[in-house]
């Protein structure tokens, strides 16, 4: 084999523990700044690419398909959409088991190619279906801070 010697006793086997000890602060960017400022007012912004004829939600400064600049083409897209796909997740992001599973969905905002990966609320998992119309439920205005979490969840439109 490739090594002249190997561990002969399991008690000789050792490892060394360490970590990458960093923290991060991410500015939300030029498009994000516009998007989240509007979100504080309970509005959802998209960005329209006229050459590809599609609307990005969340908005971007560029169209990823044709590279047109989309700044100046931001528009309100409403707060309603449909469930594009959904799941019920029993695991935390740390890999441990969740006590209360969350319903996570991809929500396509009506009239756009984009939307959100967000939670569904005020609904039982068994009642969710693909194509279900939903709307954004925002936090109380005083609690909004310009974050994706200013939307509490999406709920079915009755």
């Amino acid at each position: 084999m490739a090594l002249i010697e190997r561990f002969q006793k399991v008690t000789d086997v050792t490892y060394w523990e360490g970590q990458i000890p960093m923290s991060y602060i991410y500015t939300v960017g030029r498009a994000g700044e516009k998007f989240f400022r509007e979100m504080i007012d309970g509005k959802i912004l998209g960005a329209k690419c006229n050459s590809c004829n599609l609307i990005y939600v969340p908005p971007r400064i560029y169209c990823e398909r044709c590279f047109e600049r989309l700044e100046g083409h931001y528009l309100e897209v409403g707060t309603k959409g449909k469930v594009h796909t959904f799941t019920q997740c029993y695991e935390t992001y740390e890999g441990t088991r969740k006590e209360n599973p969350s319903i996570v969905a991809v929500i396509r905002i009506d009239g756009t190619e984009g939307g959100f990966v967000h939670w569904l609320g005020e609904v039982e998992f068994k009642d969710v279906y693909i194509g279900m119309p939903v709307e954004a439920v925002f936090k109380d205005k005083k609690d909004r801070e310009g974050s994706i979490l200013d939307i509490k969840y999406f709920r079915p439109i009755k």
């Binding site: 090594l3 523990e17 500015t27 939300v28 700044e33």
Partner: protein, 176 residues
Amino acid sequence: MEITDKMVAKTATKLSAEDIQKGKVLSVKWTPKLKYAWDNGPALGRYLAELKNGRIIAKKCNKCHRILIPPRMFCELCWVPTGEWVYVQDTGIVNTWVISYVDWKASRLDIKGGVRPYTPAVIEIDGATKGMGILHLLNEVDPWKIYRGMKVKAVWKPPEERIGAITDIKYFKPIE
């Protein structure tokens, strides 16, 4: 001239650190937990175990006859498996060094408040092939009096405090 002219156009927006930290622009914070346990393997495993015993061990390449430290299971130059283990001295000479006023986070040490600057060095270990060095710290010496070729010796932690780590050697200090 066209490209240079375009560079003058606004392509990025200048902020100050305060703009971000005090919320003038929106931002998101995150502290990832990135933890590892790296398998030592036979070479570094033995190296660390011997450090716990208060000894430094190297490994010899039977082709180029270099005595390699830190030990490795193969010679990176001859690209053959290495041969026997060789104990080397816990003394050496300073190859090159630094007088550091900053720590790893780029925070400044309180030098005026009496903190001694860090003095890391590449130390060529006696008994290993000339030029074979390791990174470690120097202490018990005036930082400004360190010189190339200065003879140094390891200062070990007491045996009960050693865990099998490079830090079982507290630092190297000059010997006469």
